[in-house]
Symmetry: D2
Subunit: 180 residues, 4 copies
Amino acid sequence: MEDHPLNSTSCLHIVIDLLKQRGVTLDDIADIVMFLQKNYIPDLTLEYCRESVYSVLKKREVQNALLTGIQLDIFAEEKRILPPLQAIIEADEPLYGVDEVLALAIVNLYGSIGFTNFGYVDKLKYGKLEQLNDKSAGVHTFLDDLVGAIAAAASSRIAHRQKQREECLDTPADSSPPRS
Amino acid sequence: MEDHPLNSTSCLHIVIDLLKQRGVTLDDIADIVMFLQKNYIPDLTLEYCRESVYSVLKKREVQNALLTGIQLDIFAEEKRILPPLQAIIEADEPLYGVDEVLALAIVNLYGSIGFTNFGYVDKLKYGKLEQLNDKSAGVHTFLDDLVGAIAAAASSRIAHRQKQREECLDTPADSSPPRS
Amino acid sequence: MEDHPLNSTSCLHIVIDLLKQRGVTLDDIADIVMFLQKNYIPDLTLEYCRESVYSVLKKREVQNALLTGIQLDIFAEEKRILPPLQAIIEADEPLYGVDEVLALAIVNLYGSIGFTNFGYVDKLKYGKLEQLNDKSAGVHTFLDDLVGAIAAAASSRIAHRQKQREECLDTPADSSPPRS
Amino acid sequence: MEDHPLNSTSCLHIVIDLLKQRGVTLDDIADIVMFLQKNYIPDLTLEYCRESVYSVLKKREVQNALLTGIQLDIFAEEKRILPPLQAIIEADEPLYGVDEVLALAIVNLYGSIGFTNFGYVDKLKYGKLEQLNDKSAGVHTFLDDLVGAIAAAASSRIAHRQKQREECLDTPADSSPPRS
């Protein structure tokens, strides 16, 4: 690990393990993606949602946001953060927005169409998000927003790909750069 | 007008008039703020929501986003935009995200706690937003997102002020900068 | 065109043509990328920078931001925008920030490491950007920021790929999703 | 402290003390603001820059970003962060962008015109920022970006106020909301 601190393949497995330790599986996130996209893509499968979540998790920016946010959740659980930040994070203070800031950085990677989906599931506390918001089950101030953001990002990715697939039925691909 | 193109007081009135011309009153926006905040602040009045909307509209960045977005809506209605953008804006293509980008710039001015509220009302199409999404009533591709963003911003502003008011009951104000 | 308003391959060619009409070639942008990255990657070629610019331009969000911004520049040149926005865009008013907002949406697609590069070339007015800022050569209020953003995005893309290449010398690839 | 975890007045003093402990005074930040704005406002004083920095620091979102970022710097200095994040933050890895994400959240509060200034001083490592980047003087992975962001925000604030002052010479103020 020391030799390749930012190797994104090994980092991917670390991140997936860390999510699991904090009680979140890829299927939990895929489930939120399914909820967000099923009305737009009738034949959508959970397997396809899961692959999209997996692709999002391969991005280094996503891994970094997850590692940082979960680390802060853990420190808050262990009560090792200095006051007044310890109390703020522990209580998931409504005016503390650093968690949303990290979440938005993930959503942004797939374009602005994901903002709406992020806000929607974050407000509804859909699926796994409800459980993460139960304060008796540990501190998940960052994790709930990050999970919502990954689901919104994976949804945007599916929407963009769906469009491309529809277009490809009609259009010959041509992706070599022109000579200048 | 020519002499003070960016005078924010006169610009405020221009923006309020422009909103009215496009079918949106301050009360329409205040109504969305009320929907978003009433569960958190029991004695909230529509008048207070309206003042918060008015304060948001005083900000130059908000005025600029509104002027730009509504102008694009109008050009699209008049079919004066070059293809393929004309068709994209006219249809409010789901993958066109420039409207959300302008909206987020408004929300950001009041911090990250507004993202969730923006996404929520944008998805629900609450109140006036439903009407703005009815394609038969003109092109409002930008306006619906901008109105949702102003409502989310005004809600964040109320939440921040509510907190300050609670604190002021206990704490002596001290806001002069320290000598260094 | 009418049939596939958002086909990203045909849209790519439209965008490249539009850039050319407004006086910007892929090589102009590649030149800025080279300036930003040459100190970090000794064997970097202009051809590689150009390919990275081309990849950035394939993204629909980038195309949409470009189409929208250039359209506003053209309308301002033709003096068809309503006051006070006409004067604001024509003069590239320092407090008008919608151009930066669109630019940032492009930079964000490649993660937050691009912010610094965007701000840096935007302030320096490096290369083509200096020319686009010469008010006598037409209105390019949006275009200069968009070109800077594309260059910053292409630089981020190169930095991420360079890292991956370094890692691949040591690490066996493993990119299939785990069974849950 | 426990009773008012988010009281923004007491939080302000905590944040100013924390900055001082980490080697940053208000004057260090005011100095960067002066560098950014002196060409635009000939009679600008360091005292005025300092007051603007102070105003920025009063915002709760700014306080939260500072508390969170500095806490992560301290944990990294104490080598208490889990791998691989410990190595990433300690080395200020170029592809780690969470620090820029927090910085941008601060800049955004004063609108998009601050992006350019943030990127510029962050790249130049002007003034105090150079010292914070010297790895031998502790871990300041977050702090350098946050200080640059506060300076950029304070600059935007000055630019907006300067404009308002110019306008007020000509325009009668009228800021009461219209009756609807």
